[in-house]
């Protein structure tokens, strides 16, 4: 048995999904697209139930990626039961999507979530009446507290049924649907979808578009607008029947502090800077402990065991990969995710987007762009994955460029481990300033040259809530696991390749080849350039490779301060890591991924050469 969860964004759908399936979630890729659908299994009375968490959407009619995916999922009949999750406090708006889903005439169940929050804001919903108006079972829940969510699966099995609610459409729409149905063999909803322009069949499409043009001419409104209006009307009617409101309990208006220019913007800056500093302090402390533990208890015993040279080289490569991967993933990225989840769950992130809207406009993006940019400081991979939430290709392209330039935690490791340790804190800060300048210039330039229209921000502000520890950790865990799935295999393979290169002597040949270039342009010894190139495999590997190739951890004794500084700047700007390139390719195509890689390489070398000129 398969069920699909559908609902507006921010209604607690994912939380319900987690509670239904536990932690046994696998991230699967929906064929042919780039949107991740989460699937999980649960067992009830010896029956295996597969639950799919669909992306949060406002409508089934739109043409964004998410909407297309959900539409094809619901339309394909892959799910035996569709569970619609509604926010009790915003029933009318949520009913709009439900009414659309109901038109597919599939067995459904309605989960009315966030009953507690609705109650607090003075909204009471007559569950019984809602159920009879819709013709489906309605289960009230409070997912944050886990209240009543255990009844969802039993209800899916026992009482899911096809909804009886029916939207009253304009008579021209009804007539057009009827006439499509008499000619083509379609059900009611299929004909309506065709009228809205969602038909794959060219004959049907042509007939439907002739009809919809006719209607548009008569009403001076598009079919989509008329249909949406009718649905809103129906949702409004149902909501007015079942919702009772009384004046809400008014608390202090924290929002006033967070969303005004003063003190809103200083608070935003303080939160972001505080976030980066905290992650950095906690991260480097944890990483040090972790790396020395692995070194003492795994790497040293392994080296002492005396394997044959090839095996030893490969074994060391794998252990180093794991050490590097976990050393970066848990101390830095996980800590970062915890803070992001806090900001997200508390509803602050949407306020940050609102405040940042104006600034980001200059870079050709809008407020929502702040999310990938902030995520980029943790790791570029999830940041690039999150550019999906930007609506136009133009914004996605600009965001991809800027995100790949943002110093992620791996690059922070380089800046801290090299510049801060061997040159000084001030110098480390100046690296950030250089990167920031490059990002600003790139952004300003891109907003002029990137083709495409710029749309503004339309973003629902999530209400301010108190995040719960459990949900924050759960969310961070699911994300870090996603990250490990993508990054770990690449990391291990890259590390093995590096080990083999060293073993076979190819490395020495490469160094000889690159020597003149690196010495004249960047003023670096050839092994440092090799380290830079291996940094493509994994950014912080540039530092580790440098240590290995230099033969000493005390880099100050073999490299001058200027060389260390140049190495750090170039490796921070230089080509994104291989995992980022892989995600870029997936999200914006091979060509643009290549363009971005080449751009960052050119910028990296140029800035490095310039610094070399200035410093020597």
């Amino acid at each position: 048995m398969k069920i699909g969860l559908i609902g507006n964004p921010n209604v607690g759908k994912s939380l319900i999904f987690q509670q239904l399936t536990g932690l046994g979630v696998e991230v699967s890729n929906y064929p042919g697209t780039t949107i991740d659908l989460q699937c999980g299994n649960t067992c009830f009375q010896k029956e295996m139930i597969e639950v799919t968490d669909l992306p949060g959407i406002y409508s089934l009619d739109g043409d964004s990626e998410e909407e297309k995916i959900v539409r094809s999922f619901v339309g394909s009949g892959k799910a035996d039961v569709i569970v619609a999750v509604l926010d009790a406090g915003r029933l009318e708006r949520n009913l709009y999507l439900l009414l659309q889903a109901a038109e597919y005439r599939r067995p459904m169940l309605v989960v009315l979530n966030m009953m507690d929050e609705a109650e607090k804001s003075g909204i009471q919903v007559d569950v019984q009446k809602l159920s009879s108006l819709l013709g489906v079972e309605v289960i009230p829940t409070v997912a944050v507290q886990g209240k009543n969510t255990c009844n969802i699966i039993p209800a899916v099995l026992s009482s899911a049924r096809t909804p009886t609610v029916k939207v009253l459409y304009d008579h021209h729409i009804e007539a057009a649907v009827k006439s499509i149905r008499t000619v083509h063999n379609l059900d009611w909803n299929g004909a309506l979808q065709a009228l809205l322009g969602h038909s794959q069949d060219p004959d049907v499409f042509e007939a439907a578009s002739a009809l919809s043009e006719e209607i548009e001419r008569m009403h001076r409104m598009s079919v989509a607008q008329i249909v949406a209006g009718n649905r809103h009307h129906c949702a409004e009617h149902i909501a007015s029947e079942v919702v009772r409101t009384r004046p809400p309990e008014r608390g202090p208006d924290i929002d006033r502090l967070l969303t005004t220019r003063i003190p809103g913007i200083p608070i935003l800056a303080a939160i972001l800077i505080g976030l980066l500093l905290t992650v950095f302090v906690i991260g480097s402390w944890l990483e040090e402990a972790f790396v020395s533990l692995i070194g003492r208890f795994i790497l040293q015993p392994f080296l002492a065991a005396g394997f044959p040279p090839l095996a030893e080289q490969l074994g060391t490569a794998i252990i180093l990969a794991i050490q590097a991967g976990f050393g970066i993933a848990f101390p830095f990225i996980f800590t970062f995710y915890v803070f992001i989840a806090l900001l997200e769950d508390s509803g602050y992130l949407t306020r940050a987007a609102f405040l940042a809207d104006r600034t980001l406009h200059r870079f050709g993006m809008h407020g929502q762009g702040i999310i990938p940019l902030v995520l980029g400081f943790g790791c570029n991979v999830p940041a690039i994955m999150s550019i999906k939430l930007l609506r136009t290709r133009r914004e996605r392209l600009i965001a991809s460029f800027l995100v790949t330039l943002i110093p992620c935690s791996a690059r922070t490791v380089i800046i801290a481990g090299l510049v801060a340790a061997f040159v000084g804190i001030g110098a480390a800060m100046s690296v950030y300033l250089i990167v920031l300048a490059v990002i600003l210039i790139t952004g300003l330039a891109l907003s002029r040259v990137t083709p495409g229209e710029q749309y503004g921000m339309i973003l629902e502000m999530s209400p301010l809530r108190k995040p719960t520890v459990k949900n924050v950790l759960l969310k961070s865990w699911i994300r870090i696991r996603e990250f490990l799935v993508i990054a770990m295999p690449l990391l291990i393979v890259a590390s093995i390749v590096l080990g083999l290169f060293q073993y076979s002597g190819l490395m020495a040949a490469f160094e000889q080849f690159i020597e003149p270039f690196s010495a004249t342009v960047l003023g670096l010894p050839s092994y440092a350039t090799t380290a830079l190139i291996f940094g493509i495999l994994r950014k912080e590997m540039a530092l580790e490779t440098l240590v290995i190739l230099a033969g000493t951890a005390d880099l100050g004794s073999v490299l001058s301060m200027a060389q260390i500084y140049i190495f750090a700047v170039v490796s921070v700007l230089f080509v994104p890591c291989i995992a980022t390139i892989a995600v870029l390719k997936k999200e914006i195509g091979t060509r643009m991924a290549l363009v971005i890689s080449i751009y960052t390489m050119v910028v990296g070398i140029l800035v490095g050469a310039l610094l070399n000129l200035l410093m020597s």
Partner: protein, 211 residues
């Protein structure tokens, strides 16, 4: 039928009054309306009882303030409809006038206000439109101030417009301006949820002040 005759009478009397003739003899009213005087007399007495007009002993008719209001309203309806039919739909002025005569009695106040609004919408603002502009202020959402409650009259934006429809921003929907940072965006409350909009999006949503 009765009420439409009464409205016609009030409208005609109002027109006469505007032209300076505040006491109209029944005879001339009968000619203006193309009806016989005895039939009119009966209706006029009825209207006097209801307080719409006063009949003097010399058989001249004067409007009461109440009657004047109804007459004025009916005349305005007539003019808007006539203008719509002749200028916008291209009907012959004579036919347009006749059509307006029948419809003016059944059209609702709101429909006529909106039609009037539509006629003088961008480009069509005549002197009459200017005079009325105060009552039905046409503005965009970005001009709203914090705390205002406004009613959406039109969403002009292309592209992301459908997303606005999905969120419930539809003609006729009331919205409340929750937060506004000048030069930045605006936060509005629609159907219990807060939605942040960029200035250019807010500027493409036409709203009215209710009432």
């Amino acid at each position: 039928m009765r009420s439409s005759i009464r409205e016609d009478i009030l409208e005609t009397l109002y027109k006469e009054k505007v032209t300076g003739n505040s006491a109209v003899p029944i005879g001339s009213l009968a000619i203006l309306l193309d009806r016989d005087a005895p039939e009119l007399g009966e209706i006029l007495r009825e209207m006097e009882r209801d307080g719409d007009l006063r009949l003097s002993p010399e058989m001249t008719i004067t409007l009461t303030p109440r009657g004047e209001e109804t007459g004025g309203k009916t005349m305005r309806k007539h003019r808007i409809l006539e203008c719509f039919f002749s200028e916008m739909l291209g009907m012959a002025p004579e036919t347009a006038g006749k059509e307006a005569c029948t419809l003016e009695h059944s059209v609702s106040d709101e429909a006529i206000e909106r039609l009037g609004n539509y006629i003088r919408a961008p480009g069509g603002a005549g002197p009459r439109g200017m005079r009325r502009a105060k009552r039905w202020q046409v503005m965009t959402l970005i001009e709203g101030a914090e705390g205002d409650t406004l009613v959406i009259s039109c969403v002009r934006c292309r592209g992301p417009g459908s997303r606005l429809h999905d969120l419930g921003l539809f003609p006729g929907t009331p919205v409340e301006v929750v937060r506004k940072i000048p030069g930045n965006g605006i936060v509005i409350r629609v159907k219990e949820s807060d939605i942040a909009l960029s200035p250019e999006i807010a500027a493409s949503i036409i709203v009215e002040r209710p009432g």
